[in-house]
Amino acid sequence: MSLSADTLPNAEQLCEQLANQLQTLIQEKQIDTPFLVGIRTGGAWIADRLQQKLQLEEPGILDISFYRDDFSQRGLAPQVKGSDLPDSIEDRHIILVDDVIMSGRTIRAAMNELFDFGRPASIHLVTLLDVGRRQLPIQPDLCAAQLELNDDQAIKLTGPEPLELSLV
């Protein structure tokens, strides 16, 4: 579904939608004990929503600050809080969650970091929004909405309560 940038969708509704899509995916693929991992900060909020709706275990959190590829331009973000994952994600089926996928670099960094923690059995990518403009060959398995933005526009998720989308 493509929407224009003039009418922003409701974030909470999109979460409901995403939760339903994920439920379907888990059943269809028979994913055994999926483990939600949210990317700070927006992805972590959404992972929490998904966890509540699908009654899954406590999600893990990924802070990708140390794995970004733009370290030299932007330096270290001073608000690095670190990742929070169990000691081993060996053989787990990861559901990687983020709010917006754009260039694909964040997901690339997240996957690199996940593999530093261990070797998952599988990773499925679930995002609330897809705004196109890919620079890497990475696509979400599920996304609640696709949007087209103008060159000078960017989209932002605020939260954790309530979750709201805004244009920047």
């Binding site: 802070d63 600050s65 140390f66 794995y67 370290f71 030299s72 331009q73 932007r74 330096g75 270290l76 001073p78 608000q79 690095v80 809080k81 670190g82 990742s83 994952l85 000691d87 081993s88 690199n112 530093d116 923690f117 261990g118």
Partner: protein, 332 residues
């Protein structure tokens, strides 16, 4: 004729980012706090199975130690490796005839190998500063200790220790005990403590080892433990080197321990929840009693573990500051 000097002219980029880490002097509270916060986040990476992060991948770090130190050198080496950097260790003993030219020649030779960062320890105060001024732009210099002047990474790991065990540095009363005269650690600690809002910093020791001018740096000078340790929140013991006895600075280790050694009894002068720190290596029975060093108020072993995280923090901050400066200049 006026000479203006600001230590930050050398260590910071135009927009106030760290590009060398030479001294804690003159750095803002915000920047020091950023170093501590960044170090905190590295601590969590050090606790997991895979300790490496790719921040300095492809970078070459050279340990340039003109003064021997296995401990400090290995923590820097470990920090660099955990940032995924390539590391080269160069132990260059200063020969009797060597002067600045050897230092300059050494630098030029190293630069020809395209290093990105030098971690420098040198017996002369001001050496790291000198190297930072002479080196090709783009190479970050981390001061691992220069003469008596500064040991900024040690001071920062000490700050991190205080923050983690006391909650914050603001409002704390800290006593630094021992050979302050020759201590680069003490000087760096005093600057950091004052900037981060410590309520009071005291330097304690015999008059031969505690210059009265420390007061100009903002520390209160004490020549007796009874007043120096009274009601402090943090006690930092400094190592006493054996050479001090032969330089007519002290009569004997025994008398030093009697007057300035930290025993369980002397520790009761401090607040009951005071923490005991020591940059190491400790001289048991000289500046500190085993009972205290191993006691439950001691956080000495924690200090060591924070050392790697703090060094990872300053190395990555300085490297990114250097690159940011390169890019800013290229785009002009």
């Amino acid at each position: 004729m006026q000479i203006q000097y600001n230590p930050n002219q050398v260590q910071l980029t135009k927009d106030g980012r760290l590009k060398h880490f030479l001294t804690t002097e003159g750095l803002s509270k915000e920047l020091l706090t950023e170093i501590l916060d960044t170090a905190d986040s590295f601590i969590s990476t050090q606790e997991r199975a895979v300790k490496k992060v790719p921040l300095l991948r492809g970078k070459t770090v050279v340990n340039l130690f003109f003064e021997n130190s296995t401990r400090t050198r290995s923590t820097f080496e470990l920090a660099a490796k955990r940032l995924s950097a390539d590391i080269l260790n160069l132990d260059i003993a200063r020969s009797a005839t060597s002067k600045g030219e050897t230092l300059m020649d050494t630098l030029w030779n190293l630069e020809a190998m395209y290093s990105d960062m030098f971690v420098v320890r040198h017996a002369h105060s001001g050496a790291a500063h000198f190297i930072a001024e002479q080196v090709t732009p783009g190479v970050a210099i981390i001061n691992a200790g220069d003469g008596r002047h500064a040991h900024p990474t040690q001071a920062m790991l000490d700050m991190l220790t205080i923050r983690r065990h006391k909650g914050q540095i603001e409002g704390q009363t800290v006593a630094i005990v021992g050979d302050i005269l020759h201590s680069r650690v003490a000087r760096s600690q005093i600057h950091a403590l004052k900037t981060l809002g410590a309520k009071e910093v005291r330097v304690v020791g015999p008059a031969t080892l505690v210059p009265k001018e420390m007061a100009d740096m903002g520390a209160k000078v004490h020549y007796h433990m009874e007043t120096g340790l009274k009601d402090v929140d943090v006690v930092i013991m400094l190592r006493l080197q054996k050479e001090r006895m032969s330089d007519a600075l002290l009569p004997s280790e025994a008398e030093y321990f009697k007057l300035y050694g930290l025993t369980e009894e002397k520790l009761t002068l401090a607040k009951p929840d005071a923490i005991v720190m020591h940059p190491g290596p400790i001289n048991r029975g000289v500046e500190i009693d085993s009972a205290v060093a191993d006691g439950n108020q001691s956080v000495i072993l924690n200090q060591v573990s924070y050392g790697i995280a703090v060094r990872m923090a300053v190395m990555s901050m300085a490297m990114s500051g250097q690159q940011a400066e390169r890019e800013q200049e290229a785009s002009v």
